[in-house]
Symmetry: C2
Subunit: 769 residues, 2 copies
């Protein structure tokens, strides 16, 4: 109809009355505009300005009616509501996971006759027949051998229990890996590398979906119960982020804005750590230091709220049965002495070395899994590793029990009531035994055998963790790392204690360790070692110390912890700057521009921009001389995510930037819905297209999708500045000009590839845009 | 010599051998290049790239020799050394200030005969003649009346003590205000608004100087001892920042780079709060949330280190004599109940209202002081306020003692041994008295009179604090704010307690407050009130809760604190978004671009840029057609801080940006040191000036001072994006282009003025650039 209209004035009239004004048509956003493709990077500036627009609209509407005003209030409050919901759900899930893991771990050894859903401890607590001393043994709790062949001692009972232990472990692990493979492949791993990447502005659809949430929660219980050398802390962060994603999809403020959604996810990560360790402040700092990318201060306050709600929800579920928030509650009775800093720093060195070893070996193994046939049999791999773990772990009491129980025991000070093998000291019969403040004593045979078992357990944990982390099951490495450090620390601690007891006349001990004094606390060494190893692997600093501080609840022991954490970080950094999460991000080729990396090379924007010298010239659109067909050809022939729009091919003066995705959508829509737009219609990006000769086809006005404020830098801009701009503003691409002329383009991928090249890495490892 | 050289080839030879190659000459930076003028804004991007340059140089040099390698190691370690030194000095100063304040506060009432430098408490502790019950009364400590007229009781003794109390107070205050006026005018106030501005990238020379440090420390002791309604916490942050500035001036890495120096200052602020409250984690979060602007994560770790060192230094000085880190250590014995949230939220509302009232009145009074004759008599003002404070404060026991002691008493739970008037409850004679867990009891006459006195003290504190904060003496408002809140809170707490005791059959009390139970802790109410009032005035959130959490040391009471802090912030924000520090920044017209403010207006860069429509065109330099004289005239006639350089006046295509300060320095240097540069020499900003005709004067090549990567945005860029860019990248100015042509310039001042205009404030209030 419009095509037949010969009078140019009538064209306008037709526009107004006919198929609608072109500008109006584009004012209504067509579907999918403003969304991103999977495995692409978002544009933070655009998301932010879209949110401001939305906010402006709501504010101006809210003055119109009371209903709109209430709606605007609800909108303003929705952030807090989302936080509350995340806290409640994350806390509940963490509590349920804790309870289920407790029960299923014990199920490998036996069952409660009075109620099969009770764990060993619950079973005996509810029993009336046990005395205070013998809380672990009660008739209701039966080992499998007792139940099946009515034998509780002897070799055959042992072998039966051993066999059933392995069978249960294999069964749990098989179930877990099958569930992950069939229902939610994204549920594997710790999830923190991917969450870091997502928070930095990358899209991985389904990674935080409902199925992932469900399957990860279920399989996490299974794999932790199966006795594999892995922890639930990292995956809990992933689970909390899934909760965050779920609740943010309920509010349009967050669901329709990828930038705002990431604010919620940052807070959810804090809630996840908060429930993992019972450390809300540590959780917020972890999210700030380790996970988040853009962390506006408003988010800090909300994250804190979410972390607190989660922690209190968990406490009201009370899975540990002790009303404590924290996973490992410890109370020490003696201060530490200056001379002890030396072993603490040694533990720091150990932590750093362990971190380096672990990262190198694990990455090498994961790379092998990715590149060789090994990766094709994930189920078999899990089964084999589980079998090896179970076979080796069962005979050693320190590996048979769950890793968190082990850490808890290693952290504990030997009180008077302690019955653990680790506390088997020879008591002076002449001394009355006060409950606290027991002096250092010579080690008994139990301690010596415990030392041997711990040493074996340590070697086993070190080796098996390297192979476990990265399999196709949910797996965290906070707990295994801490266990390695705690075992090493406890052994060093007992060593120092015995040294001080037997050689209290040495100069270094003389001042603070008289006979009969309680001067060395081996449990503190275990804690310091755990912090050092965790620091070596993850390179956390402040959040690590704060989490540990929240565990002990006193500033007293913060100096040893800091000394170990600092040493461990320095030692590990000397061998390579990357923590385990960054290493996995690189391994997977995610486009993650680390805030902590410093770019110190002397290159300029002109060295990085495309096209390089000798390459074909930059594909550009002109503002008023290309036809629809030209544009379509350009889109078909290239795979760029967007095209700069210039005044003309000769002048190359930049007008704006058009996204590929929106160009395609706009042209498709125009061809379907607008009469008169044909292949040789001219595409106009100018404000007012000139009046066309009567015969020419109807023009396509696309100014609406043109980004009129594309980011530009000059070709002389140092790359360190460009990197800084990409990081701080969260750009996808940036145009390069020289004295007003467009020269080229730099995308985030170009920046990352350049950085990889400068660091002598393979630039092709950066795969996504 | 060069001017006479007719052969163009010889010019180059002359260049090389004679006065030196021009580029070489400019490669050696002439003095003052890269520094900033007083009351100007720094360019963060430039500072950062200068630091990277320095770092690159050191790294490449370090491979040359072992000595250079050691030097590079020392350079890398200097950051930690600075932190250590700051922590040590800040902790020591805080300890000294605490001890001195203790002594001088007591000096107003009496003197220790055995050693005049002992405070009351120390005097009686060292005495052997006191019994446990009567620790406050010992013969060595003599009130002035006892010493002078040998009378300790009676009206005349009272009047004498009263008179001497006022005299001492006046004496201290006079000394303080005179010292500040004569030696260090910058030592007045809390310092936090200025430190925020400095950290955001502003230069105020001398504000963190050695004199300021010294005078602020001394006068802080004087004013706190004089009994004025002010605290030492804010000024301690200033003192710590002065320490930071002092130590950073010792290392060229920090002294020569304004950006790096600010990293040190951020950490110093954390150390300041850490010693002020004994809360290292709270200090770091305070610095992050409230004070700092650019806070790289590396700084977080170092800040934490500095804060810890400071806290432990303070503890080893042990000024409170109790080995405690924290200012107000509290331990409560009873949990709180859900129903108590209502009074807690009420306290939050009170805190918000107090915050609003205080900010409005204080700003109005300070504005009056600035604009009327009042400001001309700062000494008189201080004397009058001190006199009024002393006269009113003495008769009331709750205002006579130091404010921190008052807060400490209000926070305390009434134990069995408590002798305070506030704990004068009527005991049930039939009950045995356990030490802890005393049930709620009816209030005795002491409590009732204490309530009256507290009410009067509350009104007095509210009024006098408004007039005190902002006088020309060091003054913080953490402590007065907390005192207001603690008094209100304690009164509410006692009210609820008595209500619950007398009406324990009401529905709301029935569930948790049976007779004989200890259900209400008035001290907790005082703490919640203090948090609410502090939050209302400063609008701190996370750091406030964390500081309070570190005071109580348990997560138990974090929910009441959060509820009050959130309510207080919401109530206060409803009346105005600015906290007291932001309000003072605005009052003083500092160019502070707040990270927390959201810019939500729909304006574009073109609306803000200069020149506006109708104004004279932008002053620009051309790359190769202006003479030295032209440039000098332009500099003389305008006061812009820099000039864009374009290809030619016609094309207006942008080449770069030249700083005014560097242009002046370069021309001055060239005229002095380079023969042949005369007024009609052509100034070249191009890479290779064309060969000149033989007769023409020697050209001046200034490409070296040209910033080839000036920041540009298009005229269509929304102002919210521009504001974001200014904030995140720390720009001084930004050029505006349209399709490659230079249109105008936006400076930080323009942005701030535009924001003020949009918020219906006076844009002229922004005074600095």
């Amino acid at each position: 109809m419009l095509q037949q209209n010969r009078d140019p004035n009538m064209v306008n009239a037709g526009d107004m009355n006919g198929s609608g004004n072109l500008m109006d048509f584009l004012d209504e956003p067509f579907p999918d505009v403003g969304t991103y493709e999977d495995f692409h990077t978002i544009d933070w500036l655009r998301e932010k300005s879209r949110d401001t627009d939305r906010h402006r609209k709501i504010t101006s509407k809210s003055k119109e009616s009371i209903w709109e005003f209430i709606k605007s209030l609800l909108d303003a409050w929705s952030g807090w509501v989302v936080m509350l919901l995340i806290g409640l759900l994350a806390g509940t899930l963490a509590g349920v996971i804790d309870l289920a893991v407790d029960w299923m771990t014990d199920l490998k050894e036996g069952v409660c006759l009075s109620a099969f859903w009770y764990s060993h401890e619950q079973c005996c607590w509810t029993s009336n027949e046990t005395t205070f001393d013998d809380r672990d043994k009660c008739p209701q709790w039966q080992k499998w051998s007792e139940l099946l062949v009515s034998q509780s001692e002897g070799a055959s009972a042992y072998i039966l229990n051993y066999f059933l232990y392995i069978m249960w472990a294999l069964c749990f692990a098989f179930l877990a890996v099958s569930l992950v493979r069939v229902f939610a492949p994204y549920a594997c791993g710790s999830g923190i590398p991917e969450i870091k990447t997502i928070l930095s502005g990358f899209i991985i659809r389904g990674y935080l979906g409902k199925w992932t949430l469900l399957i990860k929660t279920v399989t996490l219980v299974l794999v932790v119960s199966s006795g594999l050398s892995l922890g639930k802390e990292g995956p809990l962060v992933h689970v909390a982020c899934c909760c965050g994603n779920f609740f943010s999809s309920l509010f349009s403020k967050y669901s329709k804005n990828e930038g705002k959604r990431r604010e919620v996810l940052s807070a959810a990560a804090a809630a996840g750590v908060s429930v993992a360790f019972g450390a809300p402040i540590g959780g917020v700092l972890f999210s700030l230091e380790e996970v988040s990318y853009y962390f506006p201060l408003k988010t800090l306050w909300r994250s804190f709220f979410a972390a607190l709600v989660a922690a209190f929800t968990l406490r009201s579920i009370n899975p540990f049965g002790n009303s404590r928030l924290v996973l490992f509650y410890v109370e020490y009775h003696t201060p530490w002495y200056m001379a002890e800093l030396f072993p603490f720093i040694l533990l720091g060195v150990f932590g750093g070395l362990w971190g380096t070893l672990f990262i190198r070996c694990n990455i090498a193994w994961c790379r092998r899994r990715k590149t060789t046939r090994l990766g094709k049999y994930p189920v078999l791999e899990v089964i084999v590793i589980t079998a090896i773990t179970a076979i080796i772990a069962y005979p050693n009491p320190y590996t048979r029990r769950s890793t968190s129980e082990l850490i808890s025991e290693l952290f504990n000070d030997c009180g008077a009531l302690e019955s653990s093998q680790l506390c088997d000291y020879i008591n002076d019969p002449n001394m009355t035994r006060p409950v606290d403040d027991i002096p250092d004593r010579p080690a008994g045979p139990g301690v010596y055998s415990a030392m041997w078992q711990l040493a074996l357990a340590l070697v086993f944990k070190i080796v098996i963790t390297i192979f476990t982390f990265g399999m196709k099951i949910p797996s965290g490495l906070f707990i295994p790392s801490m266990a390695v450090g705690a075992m090493a620390g406890r052994m060093v601690g007992i060593g120092v204690e015995q040294l001080a007891y037997h050689h209290h006349d040495w100069i270094i001990f003389r001042n603070w360790c008289r006979p009969g004094a309680d001067c060395v606390t081996p449990g503190l060494y275990a804690m310091v070692g755990a912090a050092a190893c965790l620091g070596g692997v993850t390179r956390m600093t402040v959040s690590l110390v704060v989490i540990m501080f929240e565990l002990t609840g006193g500033l007293e022991y913060i100096v040893p912890l800091m000394a170990a954490a600092v040493t461990s970080k320095w030692v590990a950094d000397a061998f390579g700057k990357e923590g385990i999460y960054e290493a996995h991000i690189h391994l997977n080729g995610y486009p993650f521009l680390d805030v902590k990396d410093e770019f110190t090379h002397r290159t300029l924007a002109t060295d990085v921009m495309r096209p390089r010298r000798g390459e074909a010239p930059l594909s550009v659109l002109t503002q008023d001389s290309m036809t629809v067909e030209d544009v379509e050809t350009l889109i078909k022939e290239t795979d760029y995510n967007g095209f700069p729009v210039v005044v003309s091919k000769d002048s190359e003066r930049l007008i704006g930037f058009a996204q590929r995705r929106e160009l395609i959508l706009a042209i498709k829509n125009a061809r379907q819905r607008q009469d008169g737009v044909v292949s040789n219609s001219i595409v106009y990006f100018t404000e007012d297209p000139p009046e066309l000769p009567p015969n020419s086809p109807h023009p396509l006005k696309l100014r609406r999708i043109l980004n009129l404020s594309p980011f530009t830098v000059t070709d002389h801009t140092p790359m360190e500045t460009v990197v800084d701009i990409f990081r701080k503003l969260g750009l996808r691409q940036c145009l390069v000009t020289r004295s007003g002329r467009l020269l080229g383009i730099i995308t985030k991928k170009d920046v990352l590839r350049h950085m990889a090249q400068m660091a002598n890495q393979d630039p092709e490892s950066i795969m996504f845009n």
